[in-house]
Structure formats: structure tokens, C-alpha cells
Assembly symmetry: C2
Homo-oligomer: 112 residues x 2
DNA sequence: CCGGTGTATCGACATCTGTCAATATCGATT
DNA sequence: AATCGATATTGACAGATGTCGATACACCGG
């Protein structure tokens, strides 16, 4: 059993184009970007982000992306572990919300 | 034999958090982000970007990342096809240069 | 306490990906 | 032309990844 949540740290690194990335920083940044490097996860993120309160229930996410529920849960977990989404269970339902600033941090690193 | 270079188009899409991404836009954006989702490629990008004239010779890239030359060539090709690097051969040497604005476009889409 | 519903985990599978050694290609130099 | 040095391509292989069905795990309403 892994740690309670083991979310990846807030992402490292000075802007890519400033100075050569060290091996460890590159690993860490790549882990975060990998979580974004999938069309389904990008769609999930954007649906959540465009929803009221920037959060959405799993039940609202399965149909739009047209994939099986376990698959959607899997993708949401990856996004949560990478720190882009947070999970809060209310009753039977699980709500995933955009973590404010998480995408911006990546954007900052990429920005020239 | 594929087309001469078949570089991916300049990347699509309004900011992620504005409105739900369509399936095709998501595919296209994911293709671009996938090219960035590898520690070696991030390091190559940052080394190139931090070099004089924002370009570097393959011969200068192999040693820093500590991988075999064919592997480095492979990664550079992926970055070039994704539109982040451009290749210019001068004599025996191949120089890869950062394509201005290419990273910023991704950053814009991610930015909240 | 029991059935039902929403979500997560597991196991399996096909596919994709990163890596290297071997080899081909291309350009320069003798 | 013969060779040498730099880069690209090929083939192979281990490991990661996306997907699903089956199943387990809450939580709620009777």
C-alpha cells in the first residue's frame, strides 16, 4: 500500500530556456508533464476546469469522454497524484476539483 | 517513406480552463505535450535553449545527457517533429535550434 | 441489516516507448 | 575514389501505458 496520497511536489525548476535542467529536475518535471500528455486527461481537466466551482463529479465525466468508468477513475487518479486535481468525497460521489495554480506552474516553466 | 518533414501544426486550442476541449483538439495538444513528457527531451531542449544562438550541435548534446548517440538523435527527431526544434545541417554537423514561440504556445494553453 | 448505486482496485491484454548495437548515409579530407 | 567522422535509420527488446471486464469497497435508503 502506497502512502496516503503521495502527491508529487509542487514542481521544480527555473524556466526551461534559462539554464540546462539537471537530471533530477528533469525527471520531476517530466513526471508532471506526463500526466498532461494524454488526450483523455486533457479533456477531463478542461471539463473540470470549465465546470461550476471548477469541480465535477466522476458521474459527470464518464459520458463526455466516452470511456469506461474504471478508465476514467484511473485517469483522474493520475491527474490527482500529479497535483492537478484534488479529490473530495461527498456522500457516495467523488468530486474532482482543479488545484489552483497547478497548471500555471507548468506554464511558467515552459514559458520563454 | 513519410513526407519530407511532417511537422505537427502550430498547436490548437483555447486555454484549457476556458471550455471543454474537443476530442480532436485534445489529441493534437496531447501529441505536442507528449514530446515534452520525457526527462531526456526536456534536458535536450533546455541545453539547446541555453546555448549560444539557442542552437546546439548533436555532438555537444550526447555527452551531457549520457545516452548513446542514436538515442539522442531519436529524441531530437521527436522534438523537431513536434515543432519545438528545427534542424539545420552545416557540413557534417547537425544543429538543432529552438523554434521561437513554440514552447510559449503550449504555456498559453495551459495557463489559467 | 440488505440491496443498490457510485467509485476504486485488480488482472489481463495490446500497444506504445525508450534504449542500444549494428548499420546505413552523407559530407569532408586526403 | 577511399576513407574517416558525424548523424540518421533499423531491428530488437524490456518496460511502461491505456483500456476494459470483473470485482471489491464505501455509502445511502429501505
Amino acid at each position: 500500500m502506497p502512502a496516503a496520497l503521495d502527491v508529487i511536489q509542487p514542481v521544480c525548476c527555473a524556466p526551461l530556456v534559462r539554464e540546462p535542467l539537471g537530471a533530477e529536475d528533469a525527471e520531476e518535471l517530466a513526471r508532471a508533464i506526463k500526466a498532461l500528455a494524454d488526450p483523455t486527461r486533457l479533456r477531463l481537466l478542461s471539463i473540470v476546469a470549465a465546470s461550476e466551482g471548477r469541480e465535477a463529479c466522476v458521474c459527470d465525466l464518464t459520458e463526455p469522454v466516452g470511456l469506461a468508468q474504471p478508465t476514467v477513475s484511473h485517469h483522474l487518479k493520475i491527474l490527482a497524484e500529479a497535483g492537478f486535481l484534488s479529490r473530495s468525497k461527498r456522500g457516495t460521489w467523488a468530486y474532482y476539483a482543479l488545484v489552483p495554480g497547478s497548471l500555471d506552474r507548468i506554464a511558467e516553466v515552459l514559458k520563454g
